[in-house]
Symmetry: C2
Subunit: 229 residues, 2 copies
Amino acid sequence: MKSIIPNALTALNLILGMGAIIATFNGDFYQAALFIIAAMISDGLDGRVARYLNASSEFGKELDSLCDLVSFGVAPAILAYVFLLKDLPGVSGYLIAAFFATCGALRLARFNVNTGVVKGYFMGLPIPAAGCVLSTFIMLGIKPPSFIFSIIVIISAYLMVSTIKYPDFKGQGEKIRMIPVGITIVISAYILFMLTFSISTMLFVPFFAYALFGILNTVFGLFDSKPIT
Amino acid sequence: MKSIIPNALTALNLILGMGAIIATFNGDFYQAALFIIAAMISDGLDGRVARYLNASSEFGKELDSLCDLVSFGVAPAILAYVFLLKDLPGVSGYLIAAFFATCGALRLARFNVNTGVVKGYFMGLPIPAAGCVLSTFIMLGIKPPSFIFSIIVIISAYLMVSTIKYPDFKGQGEKIRMIPVGITIVISAYILFMLTFSISTMLFVPFFAYALFGILNTVFGLFDSKPIT
């Protein structure tokens, strides 16, 4: 019965995700993005509460993935569509939004099947991070050309299904290289400096930095000296 | 590699579900409902193709649930919201739409955990049927008072998480009683007679009849003579 609390938090994640879609309908993009960030907080709490109460369950894990797809796959994709993708010619905006949601679903299904194999890191950008990159970018209030924005959406989607290793902040796992850390800090500081200082900027930059770091860390990993066999 | 075909059909289910949400945005409710029905056809095919190709996989099952939530939980809930629920006072329309999606997620999580226990029937109205009851109702073009419509949404949502047994059309399983079958046929025939004859009517009545039959079959089951112990 004590599993009710974490499962209620998971359901709250979905309810907030639905709020994001409805706020998008009402044309309030800022509120929609806030709903997605609130869903991320709720999503971060449910697992912790479940472990603390010793109430982790198979049911809870299934429910968690289902709700994550709505809040961080579908809601950001719809937000991105109404924000800018709809201006693309023909059905291309729709297809790019659907591509983002589909990559999110593939990411979640792979994660559930691979739990026993992938340990100490995340394979591919986690879906809450990808959803929050898009949402916090939209919060910035910048309207780039829709073509540029579509590239941001496609890259975020691809990072989810990629095999790029992302740190899970629980120690061990993938090696963290110092040069990529340095480059990420420099680029993030530059963006912070370029953008108007606001809560939106403070939210966007960490998600952007996390997504960027995984790419740089993987690229620099290719140059690691390997023992000759 | 042959699992690509069924998984592509599952992804198509999600892409069509996203199409339904976007059509709802554009105010084309009829097209949105058609997208949901097309998603149901795609969803019906993927499992069959996977079994035929002997390519059923854990990954495919996870992906299937994820896509079902979007196409038959979220898309019909958003469609119902924009169609009529938004006219309800305050945030009640939003909460009813979120309730429908949440019941859908709970139904899918329970289904995945119970696959070994529940055999020969469905426990609770399957989510594609619940989503299609709402979608095909909206296709009819009838606008009931939003209060009445909200009751239809709440009942459809509740039926998903109920323990009412629904036939799975593979024989055996739950006993099918003749009196409920008769009542369902009479009521369905009456509705067919009352509504204008159209494709929408031909689509709505079978889903309505299926949802109704489960309720009647359960109610009549309560009167079954039980052996005295």
